[in-house]
Symmetry: C2
DNA sequence: TACTTTTGTTTAAACGATTAAACAACGAGC
DNA sequence: GCTCGTTGTTTAATCGTTTAAACAAAAGTA
């Protein structure tokens, strides 16, 4: 790689000190610098196509204008959509984003954090895996700014942006109940992540408030690196009489995609044989014959908010902000049983 | 943010110079350094939880171990899958990835490149937008390593990893022809990108080699920031008699997703009323009632290869490597017309 | 005229690492 | 005892910026 033009090069060409060049190019000491020299410096900078070496600048200023983003898996649409929103929002304030995928693995996430710390990121936006409390303590110990996205850890005094999972699940199940379903199951992840537990609680809460049966067997939990197979057995069980469910709530878009595949394969009639509501949708669901009723997360707002909270922390606003946004329930055919 | 431990801190604590600490921690001057002191330095480094300030190291060594990745849109599954593969492959060699989305816009891409250059990335992996020849010249002028992914520009002496688009389209259309289709349309992007033009050429080549009609009106080109609407009118035209097509080739997974939505909405019978083949699939297509026949790009190999080519260039292997990989045609129901 | 201020610019240290070169102490060889 | 080579460590420059402080010259004030 050809060597880049430095302040020194400009200084030499104009015949001044690098300090003066730096002052001019950063618009500092305005009024103290002769207009003629300033203009000459600016012209030469442009002529030589100068641009700052951010590495050097960062070393001096201890600021990299870089945000570390740790998601579960960047190839997952939820993560990548978020990444795009964060990228755009960060760019507005001249920040760039370095990312890494943790695969819901606390150890991997810890490694990533350290790699990014060595690179002196100014702060983090993190979707922590389960059991990451000590990583939170670690980051707090270093006093490095960070904001959680999607996930939250009760009892930990940390900023986060997520949705109101209890309410979302509650509304979804209530909707199913309102539409005549009584035997309602849920397919979710086996996980100790509080956002997922809240979804389960919301599901149970709605059933309980409406005096409906809560059956252990109707809550199916699959592994996080979930495979179609696990979903298949879960469904085999949910749909086998006796104890067959009439409706099911999916805990994520990936789960519902797998579920819909099963449903397609076994020619189950939605919503008449089985009513469905899901957390999030995917491109996939738009192709399902019965448009999917789903909980819609305000991803755009969430991504922008989480970025801006982090930027505010950079500006020394050290308050803790914990936001659990409300979601909309988008009603499609998949949950609207044909009246008899 | 709490100040990080530096070499100086270790040096002071152990009572040696920073140089010695640096040598020890980098395993240099082995055999020259007393084992006792070396051990003491290592212990203290661990005790103080030292880790390198990459920014300082980069400034001195002029190497950031960072790869700039410019994709069309990180929230698009093709890009994000690729990003994940590149992330993993780069991590194996201790590189991190900074990304940006160009939105197929050459100007945006140019800005991104400069932002990443200021951050001293060691090289780029880029899916250039159309009309980016001068950006290629720009990068070559600075002698900064870069490799193109997915896209290529004939006549430019640049490394790239992509697929053999002509062959892929040719095989897809041949498959349709072999299955009895004669009136075959194509839905693609309006673009001067050579990879897309090659797809069109492959489509035309196959038709021509089999002495089939090539109708201008059967090639529908939609804008890149494509919307469902454009696809709808394209399909309205393709499927209106006279001149109705029997089969269609989609130029990308996004296009086919939109197309499948249309097909669902209008209750078109696939493959009997319309046979379909697509470039790439998505989660979406797996939910379509007729499993989608599609051209499968070897994304994993491509991502790994492009990363490794770049890493090789870093190691002063300055050869140009241009790879157009072969694709597989995955045959599903969507193209297999029921024999009469 | 002799000061203080203002204006315009330079000096030099610093950020945290790397690394060639210098240096000191010691043992070996003759 | 003198030189030389080896071993172990330090010195100091450097990467490209930033920035407080110093400085010099010109302008203002009394």
């Amino acid at each position: 790689m050809r060597k880049k033009i430095s302040l020194k090069d400009i200084a030499k060409k104009v015949g001044v000190s690098t300090a003066l060049v730096s002052y001019v190019l950063n618009n500092q000491k305005e009024g103290r610098i002769s207009k003629i020299v300033a203009q000459k410096i600016r012209d030469t900078a442009k002529e030589l196509n100068y641009s700052t070496n951010q590495i050097a600048k960062s070393l001096k200023t201890n600021k990299t204008y870089t945000i570390g983003l740790i998601v579960s898996d960047i190839s997952n649409p939820f993560s990548s959509s978020l990444a795009r929103i964060i990228e755009d929002e960060a760019a507005k304030s001249d920040y760039t984003v370095i990312f890494g995928s943790s695969d819901e693995n606390a150890e991997r996430s810890f490694k990533l954090i350290n790699v990014l710390l060595d690179r002196q990121v100014d702060g983090f936006i993190i979707a922590f895996a389960a059991d990451s409390e000590q990583q939170i303590n670690y980051l707090q110990g270093m006093e490095i700014p960070f904001v959680l996205i999607d996930r939250y850890f009760p009892g930990m005094n940390v900023s986060h942006v997520a949705i109101n999972n209890y309410r979302a699940a509650y509304m979804a199940v209530k909707h199913l109940i309102d539409n005549g379903n009584k035997r309602i199951g849920m397919v979710t992840y086996k996980s100790t992540l509080v956002n997922l537990l809240d979804r389960k609680k919301g599901y149970i809460g709605a059933l309980s408030d409406h005096n409906l049966l809560i059956e252990e067997d109707w809550i199916k939990e699959v592994g996080i690196g979930n495979n179609q197979e696990e979903i298949e057995t879960a469904f085999d069980q949910l749909l086998s009489s006796p104890g067959k469910v009439e409706a099911v709530l999916f805990g994520s878009n990936i789960l519902s995609t797998h579920g819909l595949k099963y449903i397609n394969k076994h020619h189950i009639k939605v919503p008449d044989d089985l009513a469905i509501v899901s957390f999030d949708q995917s491109d996939a669901s738009s192709l399902f014959y019965a448009p999917l009723t789903h909980i819609k997360q305000p991803l755009e707002e969430m991504g922008q908010l989480v970025t801006n909270i982090l930027l505010q922390v950079f500006d020394k606003n050290r308050e803790i902000t914990q936001v659990n946004m409300d979601t909309d329930l988008i009603i499609g055919q998949s949950s609207l049983r044909t009246p008899l």
